[in-house]
Structure formats: structure tokens, C-alpha cells
Amino acid sequence: MSQIQLKQLGKVYADGYEAVKAVSMDIADGEFMILVGPSGCGKSTLLRMVVGLEDITSGDLMIDGKRVNELAPRDRNLSMVFQNYALYPHLSVYENIAFPLRLNKGSISEDEVKRRVNDAADMLELKDHLDRKPANLSGGQRQRVAMGRAIVRDADAFLFDEPLSNLDAKLRGQMRTEIARMQRRLGQTTIYVTHDQTEAMTLGDRVTVLKKGVVQQIASPRELYEQPVNLFVAGFIGSPPMNFLPARVEGNLLKLPFCDVSFGEEFAPKVAGKELVIVGLRPEFIKDSAIQEPGGNAIHFEADVDVTEWLGNELYAYVPFEADPSVQSKLDELDRDLDGEGMRTQMVVNLEARSRVREGERAKFFFDPLLMHVFDPETGDNLTRNEEAALQIAADSEEDRKRALERARRMEAGATA
């Protein structure tokens, strides 16, 4: 139980490479914080700075109000689950989990060690495997042993470094819910590093999106999805990713590749003097006119569908378009930042599975212009971000988190009483 504060934390490697640039965040007691970003964004480095495996070049790291920059890892009282689990191959599962308890000679009695290891094994369903060696376990079991080793000790916080990236997709889903359940039950402050945005969205109370060592946005998953601060966050969060369409500003019209959208007076000052903007539209906000009733202010358009992918529960339709060369370079850069392949410019539409839209045919779509984001092509800033709505979402999710934590602690108290 503790809160962790990062104040202007920076990391410069010996070769001069600046991996983390002035990162600040407050992680509340019992909060589940996710660090997410494409590879090389400094998220793992940041986690290793918190746990003490990397030196901190600048800034302060505070745990419960105490500066811990210079403390050795063992004195920070944090527990960590490594990407490759880092189980001790020469020790049985029981001894692996008991390892942290045995380091302080004599401070914990053998009975206590046994009780705690058994509790952890119960919780992670490892009871039957306690005598086995890690080499004989499956990936998911190893993962659970690594978690057992982390929870067996009264650590102040859990740190996870991409713990699920070595598992196959099905197991990853199961372990994800398992981690969420465990964190809620223990009400433990947690920092979790991942490059997988599904994990980030589902697990986190709040998510920190990093790009090249710089924090882009720290917000609840819902705020990231609905009110992203810039192009990068908008493109990173969501699957399939948000469509970015170049749009020409003419009077009070935004001219998109397939249609024109008019905007109101209040929005005009934000695009004043700009000839080109980038419009962001999530694939799931575009609907098939043939099967859904449009709302009053919906914008309709027709487009040629190039490829469709039917997934059973939904249908992806791909609509290619020509991007304006002046925006193209910005979109290419964004694509590179997001680890993309620099593919053709196309719009993805996420339709209901019963849609009759087929490859090579012309189809009719509509979308609600209020769900559209407009980005400044130079700075990447979101011009349509609604600060009030964002604050409201933040307040709501903080409320949710506190309630969940409260509930977990009540249950824990009930269980031990």
C-alpha cells in the first residue's frame, strides 16, 4: 500500500541517448497504472528506474513521500514480474515463491513461510505444481509462479514488465483477467508496462501513453479513447486504429475525401488561418446506411469498398483514398511512430456482421460528425478535445476506482475477520 510519485524523471544512457524525458506522474495508493507505447518509447526503462535496476539521471522518485532515487532495489520494497519470468531454474515452484521470504534469515518462521506460499499458490491455482521445477511448467504456469513470487511478500507495489507478451493469444486473455482480479483483490498499487493496447485499455485505472520518452497523455482508458490530446494518442488507442483523413478548410466546410462536413461558429477560431487539417474518425463510428437508421445530423457518403474482412461478430471494410501530399508526410511520420509499415492510405470501416457490403462494390455509409476529431497537421494537437467532458470522465473513473478499491478492501477485511 503506497503511492508513487515521479517528478521530472529523466534517463540519459552513457552513450548520450535520452531514453526518458522529464516524466512526471502521481500514482495513487491502490491504483493500477499502465505505461504503454510503441517499442523504444522508454516505458520499460521507466519501470526499471522505478524498481531500481536503472539509475535515475535526473528528477525525483518518491515512494510514500520519501525520496528513493539512490536506494538499492532490495531497499525499495517493490516486487516485479519480468517479461521472461526470471524464475530460478534450480529451485522448485515452492522454493521459487518462498525465495523472497527466505532472504532475511530468521525474520520469518518456517511455518509462516509455508502458510504464505500456500496462500499464494491457492490464489494462483499452483497447489498441484509446488514440487515441480520451472522447466517442467507451461508458459502460463511459469507466469503464475512469477506472480506468486511477487505477491508472497508484503511489497509496497507490484511492477509488471510486459508479463503476457510471451504467452499465446488465448492464454493472454485469461491471464489478463487473472491479473485484474488479483490486483483488485489485493488492492495493491501496480505499474504495468505493455505495448498491447488491449491490455492497456482493459487493465488500467489510468494509462500513460509514451512516445520517445515523452509523456503524451495520462488519463483513464475512456478518456484516451474519447478525448485524445493529439494524433499520436488517437492513433495508438483503438483497434482497428482511428482513420486519419486529410481535410481542406473552406469557409465553414471541411472537405474530406468522400464528403463535406460543415462546422459551427464556435469551432471556426480553432481552424482560422489553416488550409489543411487532419480529421480523425474511428472505424466503429462509420455505419452502413443499408441496415442502420441515421440520426438527424448524420453525414452521408458513398465509397468504393476495396477489401472486406468478415470476422463473425463484425465486418471490416477497407476504402482506399488519395491523400493530399502536404498531409501525407505527416501521416507517414505518424505511421512510423506507431510502428506501422507505411502502407497505402485507406479508411477502415468497422460494420455490423449482418452488413451486406461486399468487396469491389460501391456502398453507402454515414457517420455522426460530433464523434469526429480534428487535428492540427503541424503540431498534431486535437482541436476538438472537450476539456469539460474530459474532466468529467476523469472524475467518473476516479470515482469508479475508489469504489472498486473500497469494495475489495471490505471483502478482504471480511475474509480475514
Partner: protein, 278 residues
């Protein structure tokens, strides 16, 4: 590694000539040791008569005051050299594998260079030095050159082992609350155990079989078995002490065989664990 029965049998078939090739001289020595002296030179591989006379001679008889102290010296010198060498090499190899310090490559290269040095060229200067500092014919006087002889190899073998141990093991231990020493002792050393045993055995054999240092740096008090064998004499000047020497050779081979049998599994693990990752 799973081999099909066919592969197993063909491997077995190939290994028979190899085993024969190595066992014939060994059995020959044994055969010479149990032949009575009168038929030593009869040219027969299998002894027609059988006697323990040669063993009696070196263990309780006339040659025992030459052989038994030498055996004792050998054991002490080799065990001490092995233990010191393995401990020093473990620390040194760990530092080479884990720490970044200037001159790291230098140490490895110098170690390799030292082991290329012809041993015989060291003997004369060492002899002079040892005499003037009072190390001649003492047990430390033998242990020190054996350390010089075995440390380079030990450092090379062990640093290869340490390099295979993932960094995360140690970092995990540190995060779990271990001090550097605890992480080293409880995680790194057990993981490197096959390497430590392999190194230990190689070191022991090198010292156990050494003749050059043993014969030139000792006279009475610290003479080891290989050197002592050279001083065996026959009953008369016309008789060769072949039987006694063979019996002594058989006896000194026994600890080697026992060591290998005990640590067989670990040596095999040590020699193959480098080949396959994971």
C-alpha cells in the same frame, strides 16, 4: 535429445573401438602390476600368474616410505590447488561476465597467453626463485605454480558459464530483496554449478598429473606421486621396477575414476549446457 533405437545402436557400435583403444593401455598397466617380476618381460598381454606382491611392496613394503608420503602430498597439493583455483576463478569469471571495467579483454587475453607458455621454460627461473625465498620443496611451492597453470583455463570456462546465465535472474533476486552476495550465492552459483564442477575436475587432473613442476621443485618433503615414481628402484640394478611403478599408477588412477563417476552427470551437463540454449 531423443535418439531412435537405430541411432542408439549405431552410436554404441562406433563407441566400442574408442573404448577398446582407451582401455587397452589401462588394462596393460593393471596386467603389469599383477604380474610377478620374474615374468614382467614375457611379452604376454594377459598375465599367466597373478600376485599382489607389487601392491604390497609400495603400500607396506620397501617402497612404501617413498610412495605413501608422495600420495599424501599429491592429495593435499591437488585439493588445495583445485579449491583455491576454483574459488578465485569463480569470482574473476563473475566479474568478467557481469561488470564493465577497463581492461576486461586484457585479463582474458593475458590469461590465454599465460596458458600458451611452455611450462618447461618456467622451471629453471622458478627453481632459483623458490630456493631463495624458501618455497623450494614445500607444499605451497607446488600449489602456486599449479594455480598459475590452472587459473587461465578455469577463468575461461567459468566466464563462458556465467555469460549464459540471464541477467534477469540476478535482477529478479535483487528486486526480491537479495543483497549482491545473496544473489550470487543463492542464484548464480547454483546455476553455474556444472561449470564449477567441470572446472574443478579439469583443475584437479592438471595438478594430479603434473610431472615437470613436481620433479624439479621438490626433493624430499613435498614430492608428489608422478615425481616419486621416477625414484622407484628395482631390487638390483639389473632389474627394472616396472611392477611397482605399474601398481602405483593403478592406485593413483583410482581417485580419478571415482571423481569422474561421482560427477559424471554434472560434467556431462556442464559440457553440453553450453551447446544448447535454454
Amino acid at each position: 535429445m531423443d535418439a531412435t533405437p537405430k541411432q542408439k545402436w549405431s552410436l554404441f557400435a562406433v563407441s566400442i573401438p574408442v573404448m577398446l583403444w582407451t582401455l587397452i593401455p589401462l588394462f596393460w598397466i593393471f596386467s603389469l602390476a599383477v604380474k610377478p617380476n620374474s615374468i614382467q618381460a614375457d611379452g604376454k598381454y594377459f598375465p599367466r600368474e597373478f600376485t599382489w606382491e607389487n601392491f604390497r611392496l609400495i603400500l607396506t613394503g620397501g617402497a612404501s616410505d617413498l610412495f605413501l608420503p608422495a600420495l599424501w602430498n599429491s592429495i593435499i597439493v591437488c585439493l588445495a590447488a583445485t579449491i583455491i583455483s576454483v574459488v578465485l576463478a569463480t569470482f574473476c569469471a563473475y566479474a568478467i561476465a557481469r561488470l564493465d571495467f577497463p581492461g576486461k579483454k586484457m585479463i582474458l587475453l593475458v590469461a590465454l597467453g599465460v596458458s600458451f607458455f611452455p611450462v618447461i621454460s618456467l622451471v629453471t627461473p622458478l627453481f632459483d626463485t623458490w630456493r631463495s625465498v624458501g618455497l623450494f620443496d614445500t607444499i605451497p611451492g607446488l600449489i602456486i605454480p599449479y594455480l598459475a597453470l590452472t587459473l587461465p583455463l578455469a577463468i575461461w570456462v567459468l566466464s563462458a558459464f556465467f555469460q549464459q546465465i540471464p541477467w534477469e535472474m540476478e535482477q529478479a533476486a535483487q528486486v526480491d530483496g537479495a543483497t549482491s552476495w545473496q544473489a550470487f550465492r543463492k542464484v548464480i552459483v547454483p546455476l553455474a554449478a556444472p561449470g564449477v564442477f567441470t572446472t574443478g575436475i579439469i583443475t584437479f587432473f592438471t595438478a594430479w598429473n603434473d610431472f615437470v613442476f613436481a620433479i624439479s621443485l621438490t626433493s624430499e618433503n613435498a614430492r608428489t606421486v608422478p615425481a616419486a615414481l621416477a625414484f622407484f628402484t628395482g631390487a638390483s640394478q639389473f632389474e627394472q621396477p616396472i611392477g611397482a611403478i605399474s601398481a602405483a599408477a593403478v592406485i593413483v588412477t583410482i581417485p580419478v575414476v571415482i571423481l569422474v563417476l561421482i560427477f559424471q552427470k554434472r560434467i556431462v551437463a556442464g559440457l553440453t549446457s553450453g551447446a544448447v540454449k535454454g
